[in-house]
Symmetry: C2
Subunit: 198 residues, 2 copies
């Protein structure tokens, strides 16, 4: 199992944002949506071994989990994914059941990272970390990423406390969604060459 | 110079599409927009050595060129990029000047590929092509990609005729924007390790 935990520092958490203004009223929900697309989608199918946990913090913290093996009716474009997030935040607020494969809770960052560490090793994707090409990554893994802002010092302390290892992806500074594409790609290549999993 | 030439087989060419329906009225303009973001954007800057040529074919063919070293006022999210494309298609139709770093012409696919081959080597990014990690790529390069559809047999014949080499990116079938992220990443890594350019 491969998991991406993306922190939306300013991301809307109650679903009252406009789909035609994801960067503004959504609190950079464009970044969050593209991260979901990058994590879950291949050209003609969903990645069934991937989970995405979105820790949204632009209001009372909410964590929205998307489980690749269970999700249905998803499309890879920014607006559709943002619409799915909005729908599920609203349903959660109204006490209704989420759509298939989506789970919304009130977990904050600390709770989400601690929960992820119970069934996976935690990696913090960060410039200057150990090169992914030489890092030892196998079994269940959770990759933690910030949005357009790095993790705060407090958040960094939390991931360090649970023993997260820092992993880097070359020297260029990538967008969050691009870093997820590259991480998926590097892990796919490892799998294909039989040198690591999954 | 690194160039991505993306074919939008059904992409709107006269600017009369709706920004809240890029997949439908835009003719998968969502794919085109995300391809531009993936090709041109790093986290905090534009890639100045990159050009994107969009060959839009959902009407009378138009080619929209975006020159990384000249472009201004671009944002990395799907909707903003699609808005920029729409604005420039409309300006072209009205005989007005394009926005900085953008050039619209009536080139079709054959003309665009032939023009690109005048100052660069052409690579066709295609599943099953020679692994990018072992391919010889140096100097000025143009990477040709389809949108959600592969190149047609006629288009494939055109790129073969000018001597394009097929390059593959592992065994998974990626979205066009993801393939561009990976190509940029592989070329960046080469550059960083001093084993290739640019």
């Amino acid at each position: 199992m491969r998991r991406f935990l993306v922190v939306g520092h300013g991301a809307n958490t109650d679903g009252d944002f406009r789909l035609d203004d994801l960067p503004g009223t959504g609190g950079r929900m464009d970044i969050i949506a593209m991260s979901v697309s990058s994590a879950l989608f291949l050209s003609h199918e969903l990645r069934k071994e991937v989970e995405v946990w979105l820790v949204l913090m632009g209001g009372a913290p909410h964590t929205l989990k998307i489980i690749g093996s269970e999700a249905r009716y998803l499309f890879p474009d920014e607006r559709n994914i943002a619409g799915m997030i909005r729908t599920n935040l609203l349903r959660h607020r109204e006490g209704k059941r989420e759509t298939p494969g989506i789970y919304v809770s009130d977990m904050d960052f600390r709770e989400a990272v601690e929960s992820a560490s119970e069934d996976s090793e935690i990696f913090y994707l960060k410039e200057g970390g150990k090169d992914i090409r030489s890092a030892n990554i196998s079994g269940n893994s959770t990759f933690v990423l910030g949005d357009n802002k790095d993790l705060t010092p407090e958040e960094e302390e939390m991931v360090e406390k649970i023993g997260a290892r820092k992993i880097g992806l070359g020297k260029k500074s990538l967008h969050t969604y691009q870093a997820i594409v590259v991480a998926n790609y590097e892990l796919d290549r490892r799998e294909e060459s039989g040198t690591g999993a999954p």
